[in-house]
Amino acid sequence: MNLAIRDVRHNFARFILTVLGLGMLLMIVMGMGGIYRGLIEDATLLVDRIDADFWVVQRDTRGPFAEVSRVPLLLEDRLRSVEGVAGARAFVSHTIQREHRGLPLRVGVQGLSWPEDKGAWLPIVQGRPLAHPHYEMVADELLGLGLGEKVALGKDTYTVVGLTRAMVGQGGDGLAFFTVSDALAIQNDTPGEAIRLEREARRVRADENGIASTNPGLLEMADAPAASIPAVAPSQASAILVSLEPGADPQEVANVLNGWTDISVHTTAGQRDLLLTGSVDKARRQIGLFTAILVTISAIIMALILYTLTLDKVHDIAMLKLMGARNTMILGLIVQQAVMMGALGYGIAYYIGIWLFPRFPRRVIVVESDLVLLAVIVLFISVLSSILGIAKAMSIQPNEVLS
């Protein structure tokens, strides 16, 4: 005769409420694990998808995801000349927050090296990759933009030509892909008044130091766009992505590039490691620690619930002992209820989770290995938490039936 099932059936409402509460708690544990996965996935998404062999960045920096990196666009041509290099493309990455339809729009701007890279590698679910060198963008669904929608960024307006899914930055912002020149234009956008003031300042500086009197042409150039003034620094990218020729020795190419004193070279794996041990490491550890605390709290709550359930049955357990029931029968009653509670709580956590997690603002990725691990943990804490109840049950004497 299974006493655990009969007891549950008798106190069904209480059991269900307890399991529901436990399930919600386990769902949070599951969610924290999912947030942890999502954080890593978001952080490494671009590095994994962009398909480059080397990331060439500003000397002694850890790349665009860890810190500011500036390299000249001309570096592309230098890199293409290296033996074993099949291609080089600029990578521009920055985050902007503008207003669109009266609401704040936060976008992770990514520059694609036109015409080599039109974004064909992107997971486009609607529309197409970039087809023109300017004023087009491929946006992630998360940004809430529709296909064909026009978005004003700086002085230009860009049309959404394609939509991607699950392309987000490490901050959780949806990514939008432009050509490198458009991405730089958005990054370096300067208001009209600032341009006018700068032009006037140029004239004043030229007059003050007498350059204008010896070189009048400078005054004419002062009115020209900033990009056409030779003295202004050339546009810069965050990194240059290098692809190797088939059969090329990566180490050999890396050795050549490492000899250049203005740049640093990271492999894709290295860039990924830098990301995980750098910018997302603290968040990762924080979530990990928080998850561990939640698991501990779950175990404590389960132990208290089981202990209370055992206290409720002191008289019944005393009677069972008086009838000569073996300890295994009494242990079975407690442990089976604990496992039932854990298993049902886990099931509730899973089903609420798969319904709720996609509605979270940031990605929550629950993978099979995490589910299995959590199941094992729940089983473990179910058994562990029943120890308190078991200890109480074992201490009950048959004569307590008389009390």
């Binding site: 005769m1 009969r6 019944d316 008086l322 009838m323 039936v401």
Partner: protein, 244 residues
């Protein structure tokens, strides 16, 4: 166990609670024997030590000194158990208390069935035996009810069925009719006597109900921990059906 061996024999049983100034002698050298098939009443005022004697005999609460034999086997010598008390209780002793003490999440039938299954009966045989007892006790139609759906008398009859389930050699009852009306109370007492007669079990009943004393073969009186045999009582005829 043969009829010549007493169902229970108690020799100079003492139970002392506390020590020094706080020492309380609950049982003071109780000595008696109860033959198989014999039913005895244990009388006395509250606090006289009746329940202490019953729990000591019933292997629930070990005595401080003295010896207890059940079916000729030494089970307690002083506070030391000479047998596996759990197994012995299961196989040889049936208990009925003032409260029915039914397990609330089991039906009436399951309460009895569990007692049998604990003693090794198969679920089918246990169910069959439980229903036989319920038929006998007149509560068969309540077999599927949970305890809270039964009246006090019905609950107590389930408790009696549970005590009888394993055909014990000794039945110990502590004020089993306290919660019952006089008619039901007498029925239970007569049932105990019938079990004693037909099954050969020794039955010791703690009771305050003097109206049913004619049911008992013998009566003991306990005062301040001392046990004495009262005047023998004559057994009344029974109308109850044969015990299953």
């Amino acid at each position: 166990m043969t009829r010549s061996v007493p169902a229970i024999e108690v020799q100079d049983l003492r139970k002392v609670y506390g020590s020094g100034n706080t020492e309380v002698v609950a049982l003071d050298g109780a000595t008696f024997a109860l033959a198989q098939g014999e039913i005895a009443a244990l009388l006395g005022p509250s606090g006289a030590g009746k329940s202490t004697l019953l729990t000591a005999i019933g292997l629930i609460n070990p005595p401080t000194s003295g010896r207890v034999f059940i079916g000729g086997r030494l089970v307690f010598e002083g506070s030391r158990a000479a047998v596996n008390v759990r197994t012995f209780r299961r196989q040889f002793i049936g208990y009925v208390f003032q409260k029915a003490n039914l397990i609330p999440f089991l039906t009436a039938r399951e309460n009895v069935q569990l007692c049998l299954e604990i003693n090794g009966a198969s679920p089918r045989k246990a169910r069959q035996r439980a229903m036989e007892l319920f038929e006998y006790l007149g509560i068969a139609e309540r077999a599927s009810n949970l305890p809270h759906m039964l009246s006090g008398g019905q609950q107590q009859r389930v408790a009696v069925a549970r005590a009888l389930a394993n055909r014990p050699q000794l039945i110990l009852a502590d004020e089993p009719t306290a919660a019952l009306d006089s008619f039901r109370g007498r029925q239970v007492m007569e049932l105990f006597r019938q079990v004693a007669r037909e099954q050969g079990a020794g039955v010791l009943v703690v009771t305050h109900d003097h109206r049913s004393l004619d049911v008992f073969d013998r009566s003991f009186e306990m005062i301040d921990g001392k046990l004495a045999e009262a005047t023998p009582t004559a057994a009344a005829p029974t109308e109850a059906p044969a015990f299953p």
